[in-house]
């Protein structure tokens, strides 16, 4: 890893649904399963609440990676929310890939309330990926780069 | 990785089977037409792979007694397919023995007109994947 990368502290936004993934993150916390502090979680009622605008907004404002977590398909608290979210995110990610944004910068994982370990592992691997990709330069507003 | 472990992994890879899915119901052994001639029974193939005792498996009589009728593959409720495992074990042996491979287009020239058609079909069925 280059010297630059050592100094690089990525900003990572994680959208977590209230019923599964946020609880999974809580479980990771109470189980003391660590993951890098670069990840900051935003609680949403359901993965279907995550608007592509939020994800682009995060990148605009300087995020280096955005991950969305929700209940496993079939387990949505609102029964169908994550199905819609899955299609929306698939299309959005595909578009970002299409315009040349590295596709590792976005990810969706389904994490249940019981999967503290998975939550922590997911975050660790995602952060690692973002470190390997380095700073997000393709999808940000220059004015936010201080 | 020990060579036994490697071989067990290889068998899993070739067969595409996850032996841990086995719930030890024995339906494979119940279905097997060669059961009585086998020293290691079909349901035991699975545990030999799990326990990475490939040595015993490849040296068993069963390895060559399996008819590849695939009754166990068809009936296995857990998608474990012991027939595929034993088939994969044979592959491992074949590869170890450094034998030549044939490509399908070489076969016609080597064909003995007396060769039973069934043998061919069975061979293809076995090795198509």
């Amino acid at each position: 890893m280059s010297l630059e990368n050592k100094e690089f502290k990525p900003k990572i936004v994680a959208f977590c649904c209230n019923w599964c993934s946020y609880a999974g993150a809580d479980l990771a916390g109470s189980s003391r399963l660590s993951y890098p502090a670069d990840v900051k979680i935003i609680r949403v009622p359901c993965s279907c609440r995550v608007n592509p605008m939020f994800i682009l907004r995060a990148f605009e404002k300087g995020a280096d990676g955005v991950i969305m977590c929700g209940c496993h398909p079939g387990d949505c608290h609102y029964s169908t929310g994550n199905y819609y979210a899955r299609r929306r995110m698939t299309l959005l990610f595909s578009m970002l890939d299409y315009i040349g944004v590295e596709n590792g910068r976005t990810r969706v994982e389904w994490v249940s309330a019981a999967e503290g370990v998975k939550f922590s592992e997911t975050m660790n691997s995602f952060v690692e990926k973002i470190y390997s990709l380095g700073e997000n330069v393709r999808l940000g507003d220059l004015r936010c780069k201080n | 990785m020990s060579s036994e472990k490697k071989q067990a992994e290889l068998i899993k890879e070739i067969s595409g089977v996850n032996p841990l899915k086995c719930m030890k119901c024995g339906k494979c052994s119940a279905s097997c037409p060669s059961y009585n001639e086998m020293d290691i029974k079909p349901h035991q193939f699975v545990s030999y792979v799990i326990n990475e005792d490939i040595e015993s498996l490849v040296n068993s009589k069963s390895l060559w007694k399996c008819l590849s009728c695939f009754a166990c593959v068809e009936r296995c409720p857990r998608d474990v397919k012991p027939g595929k495992l034993i088939d994969a074990a044979r592959q491992v042996v074949v590869r170890q023995k450094d034998q030549d491979y044939l490509s399908p287009n070489e076969i016609p020239e080597l064909l003995d007109p007396e060769l039973p058609q069934q043998l061919l079909v069975s061979a293809f069925r076995r090795y198509r994947r």
């Binding site: 809580d26 502090a37 608007n51 | 119901c25 339906k27 119940a30 009754a71 998608d79």
Partner: protein, 662 residues
């Protein structure tokens, strides 16, 4: 501009060990809108809550941020505390600096930095919070039970006994369900009919219970406390008020070729029929597919012999619309189709039967009048083989991945009953595992082995081969003895997997109740809310939620009833105020939101709007707050941003994003 107070909890050392709480409190004062900040040992304690209340009073706070443990833990605590101090509870937000920060980080500098950012995000959100009021909705004090088996009957009785009206909708001509088809019940071996029939009678006689048999739920609208349900009463062709249940019509009916549903098709019934002798109501229906009168126009014999003049060939389906406050689903189960298991020769031999069919064979009212005999030739069997887990615990698409739970016990029951009544018959059970958790269950199974000499063999059957002499050659394996077994049997009984009644998918869709891949209805919480559907006002009773035996079903039925009673006992319901709201000035009326709403909470109305001086009537979305659960699917589906979610608004979430990325 809000006046926000930030309260940073130490949580003893849980937070304070890895987060510099003083620093977080100090940094909070830099944030826009923050007028007060402090830290305290235990914010959730009485004293901590008092600090929040004091600050609300003294500093005139309009918003509160508590940096503490997960909102899933204490959000309600702090919101209630704020409410007691006169602040709208929805002006409180939690920054989770324990589970999401202090507990997973070791470095205090890193932890503090992150805690500050989480605090900032919460402050940014509160800046945009608006006071929310929980709405109220009324409760119709009447419950609907879908399904008239033991689960439905028990639920209905319990609700009715609490003094509320209950309607049961049953698809078949009689209530009773699967239990009415059973002969004896484990582990006590008492007669199924003897314990079920009194319940059926009690239900039908109960003044608070109304039973719609031969009826189906057609449409459900509305929401918790106020469901509107259309019930289709299928044409019975018999006037229920006039019929005396004498049964003459069934005797005289010349069409007797229809397979008897009640006897699992093992024998036939007349075209006009009651499914079984103790049917309730004891009023027959005409099977129009089988009836000669309906097929050819000629006959009419039943009408001629009916002294009550109850036969009515012109009867039409009738739609009844009724309001309910709560709905209990008790749709039960059926056995799976065995077409894909041709190795067991089920469709080839009449002597290979399912356990449910065996129940009918053993039953005095069954096709053999209770005599154990081969259905092919009527001979008494000498050798019977039971095969367990047929279609259960199966990971391919032939069967079901789950354990059907009841088979081990009923097979022990069957084996025991046969050995008891016919000691000369050999009984062999091929099993994978014998599962007997339950009171007196394992004792029961051991009795079958030890007292009755049932031969249990660990190993599955591979194949059943019908022999020319009518015998069945069973090829199985004995895994413990490591041998293959070839056994000649006279009869083979398959412990067939059970699956939810196939109709339940349609019903779940109508109710917007969630359903899993196996068609079992999903409970709101696997452990803590096992009898409630995630959809408010929908409760689950019996096997529609998961495989169960009778005592469990009855227990769950009672639990579902209590939950329903708890709902019906309320005069008003408080609704979650974090619901979607449509801005009528921005709404296009495109129905996209309506299409993704899992609750049917969005409807469209033509409304008069005043858009900057332009008055016109527009088709706009209207959210029913009582129905909306606040998932937010609509807010993203809405292209114009007209639909927004209170408490998690677009601007609030964006403010959080901005604060984190700052």
């Amino acid at each position: 501009m809000q006046r926000i107070g930030v309260f940073v909890c130490h949580c003893g050392s849980n937070i304070a060990a890895t987060v510099d709480v003083k620093k977080v409190a100090e940094m909070a004062l830099m944030e826009p809108g923050v007028v007060h900040s402090e830290d305290y040992q235990y914010m959730c304690s009485e004293a901590g809550q008092a600090k929040i209340a004091a600050a609300i009073h003294e500093k005139g706070l309009t918003g509160v941020v508590v940096c503490s443990c997960s909102p899933r833990m204490h959000e309600t605590t702090f919101r209630k505390a704020a409410e007691r101090a006169g602040l709208n509870p929805y002006m409180v937000e939690i920054a989770n600096i324990r589970e999401h920060c202090s507990w997973i980080h070791k470095d205090i500098e890193e932890g503090t930095k992150k805690a500050v950012i989480l605090m900032r995000a919460a402050v940014a959100k509160v800046n945009l919070n608006a006071p929310l009021q929980a709405g109220e909705s009324r409760v119709t004090k009447r419950a609907l039970v879908i399904g008239g088996g033991i689960a439905g009957i028990q639920t209905a009785l319990d609700i009715a006994d609490a003094g509320y009206e209950v309607d049961i909708v049953e698809k078949t001509p009689s209530i009773g369900g699967r239990m009415s088809q059973l002969d004896k019940t484990f582990p006590t071996l008492d007669c199924s009919a003897c314990i079920l029939t009194p319940k059926m009678v009690e239900a039908s006689a109960h003044e608070k219970i109304k039973i719609y048999t031969y009826s189906e739920v057609e449409k459900v609208s509305g929401f918790v406390g106020d469901f509107m349900v259309d019930i289709r009463k299928k044409a019975r062709s018999v006037d229920m008020d006039k019929c005396t249940g004498c049964g003459v019509c069934q005797e005289k009916c010349p069409s007797k070729k229809a397979p008897s549903e009640f006897n699992r098709g093992l024998n036939t019934r007349s075209a006009i029929y009651t499914p079984f002798a103790q049917a309730i109501p004891n009023v027959p229906v005409i099977d129009r597919e089988a009836c000669i009168k309906f097929k050819t126009g000629k006959c009419g014999l039943c009408s001629k012999v009916c002294q009550a003049g109850a036969i009515d060939y012109d009867q039409q389906d009738e739609i009844i619309t009724e309001k309910y406050g709560a709905i209990v689903v008790a749709t039960g189960f059926d056995t799976i189709n065995l077409d894909k298991y041709d190795e067991y020769a089920y469709s080839q031999s009449k002597d290979v039967i399912t356990s449910l069919e065996l129940e009918r064979v053993m039953n005095a009212a069954g096709p053999t009048h209770g005599h154990l005999e081969r259905l092919s030739d009527g001979k008494a069997p000498k050798e019977i083989v039971f095969i367990q887990c047929v279609g259960s615990r199966c990971s391919d698409d032939r069967g079901k991945p789950y354990c059907s739970k009841i088979c081990c016990m009923y097979t022990a029951k069957h084996a025991m009953l046969i050995r008891d009544k016919y000691p000369d018959v050999n009984v062999t059970v091929f099993y994978i595992d014998v599962r007997t958790p339950g009171k007196n269950f394992d004792e029961f199974y051991r009795r079958a082995v030890e007292q009755y000499g049932v031969n249990y063999i660990k190993g599955q059957v591979g194949k059943v081969i019908p022999q020319p002499d009518g015998k069945l050659l069973v090829q199985g394996s004995d895994l413990l003895d490591n041998r293959q077994i070839l056994k000649e049997a006279d009869m083979v009984v398959l412990a067939t997997a059970i699956e939810p009644n196939p109709d339940v998918r349609k019903i779940a869709t109508m109710l917007t109740a969630s359903i899993d891949t196996n068609n079992f209805l999903t409970e709101a919480h696997a452990k803590l809310r096992p009898v409630e559907s995630p959809t408010a006002g929908i409760f689950l009773s019996g096997v529609c939620q998961g495989p169960k035996d009778i005592p469990e079903t009855v227990a769950q039925a009672g639990a579902a009833a209590v939950k329903a009673i708890g709902l019906l006992a309320k005069d008003k319901l408080l609704t979650n105020p974090c619901t979607a709201q449509s801005d009528i000035l921005l709404c296009n009326g495109c129905s996209t939101c309506e299409n993704v709403c899992p609750y049917g909470a969005i409807t469209y109305e033509d409304k008069e709007v005043n858009d900057h001086g332009i008055r016109e009537t527009r088709r706009v979305a209207v959210v029913n707050n009582a129905l909306c659960q606040g998932c937010g699917a609509c807010t993203v589906a809405c292209p114009s941003g007209a639909m927004d979610l209170q408490g998690f608004s677009n601007r609030q979430i964006i403010a959080e994003v901005d604060a984190i990325c700052r």
